[in-house]
Symmetry: C2
């Protein structure tokens, strides 16, 4: 085979998924390893390399990989490093991800970015944002992530960390404590966990009946709220209205910044359909600065959820292939194999 | 003379200032006309052309102008038009500014943008943001304007109107009514008029003494508040603290978007010195998402206020010269002079 392929790797807190992707955005094959199996980063890279090679061989494309793209929490496009990612098992320091992976794969060009940026690239390359030069990707999962595209380019900012729209402040007084240590962040309201918090708040403050009262209040999830709302529960529906209203207000401020053609939603909560979208769109249009009204679409991702992370990362793999000269792409050849020792190895020096 | 020059034109609600600018950002000569003198747009363009030509001739550079940049309220970079500018005297419709000016100047390339974007270009080309690829320009005048630079390019958005950061919402409950018809906008608090409103609010609600109480409350300006604060008035100082706190919170959200190297302040209120800057920087650092802390500078414009508008527009003039092939640059040759009629013109057809 001589068709070109790239490798997309998505490093999550639990699983690392990797896939072989062709130029049309078709995931030819994919597999995964457990992210947390190795507490040593080099051991993790070794296993990743071994398992990727196995997948490449079994698909007969071992020598066809042109670039590698990686999405990972707190991964910095400019430096190729993971910087202080508390949800990964390799400590709170700096991990030279791109360099290590490129070295393992004999100098194949590698580019990295955070997961939400990778999702935006995937959507622009293969999904709902094809042909758009200005859009914002919002991932509504456990947290709220974002990837921003301006003039056809991802916005990385001067330090590589731009696009933390889950942490714009929506309540400046008595806001909810956020995982980031501040209060009132969008993420504290409009993520899956935010929806569950809203449910707990509503159930405590209010007295009207709800099927959600049959559940253990501490364990209520956004899925429970969704199921109850679908079944017609009034309080559950109001939780989605509350969520959509805040999200719409936040989106209106984002439009004042970059005036995107669309805001693309991805992630579990984005699948709530009109329960979320109707109040969201209503609040959004109402909140917009007048000249922006009626111009920016709120749409859903067109990528299959199981493929999206790998596709997003793979889009960066193509970028790595074609922009190997930029500082953000790392191409590090493996060191030459050490020559065989001419004499028996000296015994190890005793530890100092 | 054969040095290249560009023309920078700043169209304000009262005056239209224009200047001849050399490649080093030196305003060789400038002059102005009254924006409101002509209620007909074509008459205005005629006078502008006449006066510009007079300035060019008196400086012996009539044939050296390589490009024309124009900053104007609601001017759209993509279309070259002024769209619905309520503060200009030519009605609320669409004015083909770039096309008319290029035609008047025999096809010289023209590019237009709004005033705050022009200011950002000026700062990037000649001022405090030289060498920066990611920064945000905030103009604190009668209103709050903004120009955003990402990856070395101005952010225009899909419709040309991006960068309305004066209209992000800072108070979602009981916010002040803003000129845009919405409530709680940054501009309603942190512009010169916002500061005056804060003064009136404080004086009404509070009972502590202040030299501001000696003034007619309805006519208090931000300059009065500044003078009182400089003289040590406690209430006046607190007005600046209040303003700086809100501005710092707004800036922190902007950093979550584009992670700029700096936020550059321009305009009357920016000259309040530490009265504004100290509470602003304090609130900003405190409000930032942790990974952004200590990275983004808040700095003042380095352009002389009298030159800034013309310099900003002139920077766009260079862009017009060098990017004459892009859709945003208009180069419209004047129609050839009509040939002398060979026979008396036929009488006009009667109206249908």
């Amino acid at each position: 085979m001589s068709k070109p392929y790239v490798l997309g790797i998505d490093i999550g807190g639990t699983n690392t998924v990797f896939g072989i992707v062709d130029a049309r955005g078709h995931v030819v094959a994919s597999d995964s390893i457990k992210t947390r199996k190795h507490s040593n980063f080099d051991d993790y890279i070794d296993e990743l390399h071994t398992e990727v090679i196995r997948l490449l061989k079994s698909n007969d494309v071992e020598n066809e990989i042109q670039g590698i793209g990686i999405g990972a929490p707190n991964a910095n496009y400019y430096t190729g490093e993971i910087q202080n990612a508390p949800n990964l098992p390799w400590g709170n320091g700096i991990l030279p991800l791109a360099e290590k992976v490129s070295m393992a794969f004999n100098g194949t060009p590698v580019a990295v970015t955070n997961d939400a940026n990778a999702a935006a690239l995937g959507e622009m390359t293969y999904g709902a944002a094809r042909g758009m030069k200005d859009f914002i990707m919002i991932t509504l999962g456990t947290g709220v992530g974002s990837g921003i595209v301006v003039n056809g380019q991802l916005v990385y900012g001067h330090d590589g960390f731009a696009g933390e729209l889950g942490h714009v402040v929506m309540k400046r007084n008595n806001g909810r404590v956020c995982g980031c240590g501040r209060t009132g962040c969008l993420e504290a309201y409009c993520s899956a966990t935010g929806v569950a918090r809203t449910a707990r708040e509503f159930l405590e403050i209010r007295t009207d009946p709800s099927t959600l009262r049959n559940l253990e209040i501490e364990n209520i999830t956004s899925k429970d709220v969704y199921d109850a709302a679908v079944a017609g529960d009034k309080l559950a529906k109001e939780i989605f209205e509350y969520t959509g209203k805040i999200l719409g207000e936040a989106f209106a401020d984002m439009v004042a910044f970059s005036s995107p053609q669309a805001i693309v939603l991805f992630g579990g909560l984005a699948k709530s359909g009109d329960l979320l979208l109707r109040p969201l769109r209503e609040s959004f249009e109402k909140s917009l600065f007048p000249i922006f009204r009626g111009k920016t679409k709120i749409i859903l991702s067109e990528l299959k959820e199981s493929d999206a992370a790998v596709l997003g990362a793979s889009a960066l793999g193509w970028e790595a292939k074609f922009r190997v000269e930029t500082p953000a792409v790392f191409s590090t050849p493996a060191p030459a194999a050490a020559p065989a020792p001419a004499a028996p190895a000296a015994p190890e020096a005793p530890e100092a």
